[in-house]
């Protein structure tokens, strides 16, 4: 099989096109020099079915093979054609290399239909399916736990981290990315990025709409690394981030949001927030209780939902009905500010009435900011920032927006500079998994606050561990629209400890050098790496997801260690071992435990 050839011997990707057999040679220089034409492999690039009839694979006619190269750019293309019944197909396979370690594989196809009437065309890609079958193939976010592949990395945006094939040592690696510019676009990558993550990928067959012009069907970006999957992730991260305009994150005016580690959700209708006898909000009490969590950095006031809709009052009018109307909010904001706590109010995008617009809501917001001095606007179910609201930020440069959903698309990510990492569903026996959030590692400048509103008991414990494992802040939400689901004293202590660590090591957690799911030496251990800018110090978040204690080597460290210390989690016995000039981190880690370790290296 081609995969074994790549991994063990020839370092090549082989596939065939009718009688033409091709091999993409990936030697150690990883420059695209030449395509080798080899024989006797059965790894077809694609199979076409036209109205349920298979197009014979041995009838492709190679029209042209061309190669253009200069110092910066290499392109190799193969043009082919095929007559099938009364229709005529043309195609092109191209390899494009602009830089070391990244090669674009492009597959294009066109059709000239008999009497100009299009037919239903289905495509299958045995070549990619065979990659998927490789025993060392890991879908995006997967790890191999010794028995099976399991998902330990998640993401929720329109960028898809690459699938990876590594050698048995996990060193030589190839990454495969199928970038979807727009998930509903015809033909282009065909939802491959989602499909390759599914269990049924072997049956993946998809429809294309062919015209007389060559249309992009597959654009597979191949990342190559001799430094393991970590390097594949870094290459993908670097390549992906290049598309983004992230200036807004590095504008000094918005920096406070990056230190919004703990946000309190202040549900107005309950004993936590409201004194029913005095008819006033218990803001001082909330701030005081927040110290048990390490202190709130912001408070989100919430009183519109689930009350909106009882009559025609809109979301802004409901503020007027509070005791002393806007003055109540102003007073709360002033108290918060005296404790260096920022204050958010929510927007209800679903409450835009027929006589309202986003512009009119922006005007209401502007008036509200002037009257109350609030610091931020929580966008609720809307995870994009409309132009009307962006203009607010021009008038109030330190004003921030945050949404309950992590933004998914490019413009949203560029403009909406904070959000929740919200998980959970009350209706589906939801279990909080401890895994890596790839968005957080791709855009570390975008602060995420973890929340799972309905989780209780052991799931709340897992939530705190998940926040620690990903080095992210949390939402402290205990009154869920009238259901009181508090954190325990022990849980509060753990959150307090985590907040202190996030604050102390802010530059590590929110710097740009973090990598999720680095290689570990135990099949039941996963680890994220956070690094300061010069790489002299790193924080490793380590999680034992197995059901037994892990005792021994956990990580192979990159260079000589000067100092090390555990900074979070139940105290465990950690050691550094030096053997044959290689440094290892050893630990005695209980099942289901998360620890954070800070290591200083000799550079």
């Amino acid at each position: 099989m081609m995969q074994n050839k790549f991994i063990d011997k020839k370092k090549s990707i082989d596939f065939s096109l009718g009688n033409l057999n091709l091999s993409l040679d990936l030697n150690k220089n990883v420059f695209l020099n030449e395509l080798n034409f080899i024989k006797n492999i059965n790894n077809e690039l694609f199979i076409i079915r036209v109205e349920n009839k298979l197009v014979p694979k041995n009838k492709y006619k190679i029209e042209k093979v061309s190669k253009n190269t200069d110092d910066n750019f290499t392109v190799i293309s193969i043009d082919f054609s095929q007559n099938f019944e009364k229709d005529f197909f043309k195609g092109r396979i191209s390899f494009v290399q602009k830089k070391k370690n990244i090669i674009d594989f492009i597959f294009q196809l066109s059709a000239r239909w008999h009497k100009d009437i299009p037919k239903k065309v289905l495509l299958k890609f045995p070549f990619i399916i065979n990659l998927h079958k490789n025993k060392n193939f890991l879908k995006p976010g997967d790890i191999f736990d010794g028995k099976k592949r399991i998902k330990k990395g998640v993401w929720n945006l329109h960028e898809y981290p690459p699938s990876i094939i590594s050698d048995n040592l996990g060193i030589e690696s190839l990454g495969f990315e199928f970038y979807d510019q727009f998930p509903w676009q015809a033909n282009y990558n065909l939802g491959m990025s989602e499909a390759i993550s599914s269990e049924n990928f072997e049956k993946f067959e998809t429809e294309v709409q062919l015209t007389q012009e060559l249309t992009d069907i597959i654009l597979m970006k191949i990342y190559t690394s001799f430094k393991g999957r970590e390097k594949i992730f870094s290459l993908w991260k670097e390549n992906t981030r290049k598309r983004y305009d992230l200036r807004k994150y590095h504008d000094g005016n918005n920096r406070w949001i990056k230190k919004n580690y703990l946000q309190h959700f202040m549900f107005a209708y309950g004993e936590e927030a409201f004194d029913y006898k005095k008819i006033e909000f218990k803001i001082n009490q909330i701030i005081k209780e927040g110290k048990q969590f390490g202190g709130y950095d912001s408070i989100l006031f919430w009183h519109q939902y689930p009350r909106l809709g009882l009559d025609e009052s809109n979301q802004w009018q409901l503020y007027k009905y509070l005791p002393k109307n806007y003055k109540t909010i102003k007073k709360i904001v002033d108290i918060c500010h005296s404790h260096k706590i920022k204050f958010f109010i929510p927007f209800k995008p679903w409450d835009i009435r027929s006589n309202e617009s986003l512009d009119s809501h922006a005007k209401s917001l502007e008036k509200f900011i002037k009257e109350t001095n609030i610091d931020g606007f929580f966008l609720d179910t809307m995870s994009s920032l409309p132009e009307s609201f962006l203009k607010i930020q021009k008038k109030f440069p330190s004003f921030e927006f945050c949404s309950e959903g992590t933004p998914r698309e490019q413009r949203q990510i560029e403009t909406l500079t904070s959000s929740w990492d919200q998980i959970g569903d009350i209706r589906r026996n939801f279990k909080v998994d401890i895994n890596s959030n790839f968005f957080r590692f791709l855009f570390p400048e975008h602060p995420l606050n973890l929340v799972s509103r309905w989780s209780v008991g052991s799931d709340k414990d897992a939530l705190i561990k998940r926040a620690a494992f990903n080095g992210m802040g949390m939402v402290i939400w205990q009154d869920i629209f009238g259901c009181w689901l508090p954190f325990s004293i022990e849980q509060k202590k753990k959150i307090k400890s985590l907040k202190n660590i996030l604050k102390k090591y802010h530059k590590y957690f929110y710097g740009n050098n973090s990598i999720p799911l680095i290689k570990t030496l135990s099949k039941k251990i996963i680890c994220n790496e956070f690094s300061n800018s010069d790489g002299k110090q790193k924080i490793y978040s380590i999680y034992n997801f197995g059901s037994n204690k892990v005792n021994g080597r956990i990580l192979k460290l990159p260079i000589e260690v000067i100092e090390f210390k555990q900074i979070y989690g139940k105290k465990v016995n950690i050691k550094i071992e030096k053997k044959q000039n290689i440094f290892y981190l050893l630990a005695n880690l209980d099942a289901n435990d998360v620890i954070l370790v800070n290591i200083k290296f000799k550079i």
Binding site: L310, D311, D479, G482
Partner: protein, 230 residues
């Protein structure tokens, strides 16, 4: 506008199986929704919700002033709307009126029996929804006697649609205070995240979470009274 008498209707004591459905959007409604056996004592009940005229008369006679008047009678009752149900009243405002007339607010269980009766009707007038028998989607409040054909088994009118009705009591789950509303209203907010609008079935209540009086009053929220009878 021609005025009319809001006469009292006698309801003989009985037992029935209380079972209620609710929608609280997210969260729960911490009350026992049944099925459970409930005993109803002999009662007199207002045929209609209390009107603006009745409430204005109460104000004139008693000089009632709520401690917190935020939004109190925000619609400014006048003769043109005398026959419309009084709204923008909190539960306290409703109780003050009921006491003055020698009555009280119906309990959640009583309200359901008054609407559904011993035959457990789904709607006051029967088991099938009929928009011509209630102010379901009418864009504004209407006179309490506008849908006399939609009367309940005992002759009570306007029990579904037009305006929500307070029931008695503040429920306290230890962390929250809330009241239960009945009947639905004319108003329909457009989104599924809004409070569900329109006329509501007999076995439906909505949990109104209590805050200050300004928040406890609404343009769609009125009441009717019951009176303990021998």
């Amino acid at each position: 506008m021609k005025s009319f008498v809001n006469k009292k209707i006698f309801i003989e004591s009985n037992e029935y199986t209380y079972r209620v459905e609710h929608l609280t959007l997210e969260g729960t409604c911490s009350t026992d929704h049944g099925p459970r056996n409930v005993k109803i004592k002999n009662l007199l009940v207002d045929k209609y919700p209390v009107t603006n005229q009745q409430y204005s008369f109460f104000l004139k006679k008693t000089g009632y002033q709520p401690r917190d008047s935020q939004r109190f009678l925000e619609h400014k009752p006048n003769k043109k709307i005398f026959n419309l149900p009084v709204v923008f009243v909190s539960q306290n405002d409703a109780i003050a009126y009921a006491k003055w007339v020698g009555g009280r607010l119906p309990t959640d269980e009583e309200w359901q029996y008054i609407a559904a009766g011993p035959k457990y009707l789904d709607w006051p007038w029967g088991n099938k929804f009929n928009p011509s028998l209630c102010n379901h989607d009418g864009n504004k409040l209407e006179s309490v006697n506008a849908y006399r054909n939609g009367e309940s088994w005992c002759g009570c009118v306007d029990m579904s649609g037009n305006c929500w009705e307070w029931t008695a009591g503040i429920h306290d789950d230890g962390n929250h205070q809330f009241a239960l509303l009945r009947g639905g209203s004319y108003f329909y907010a457009h989104d599924h995240w809004h409070v569900g609008g329109g006329a509501r079935k007999n076995n439906y209540h909505w949990k109104l979470q209590i805050l200050n009086e300004g928040m406890n009053r609404a343009a769609t929220l009125g009441f009717r009274c019951v009176y303990d009878a021998k």
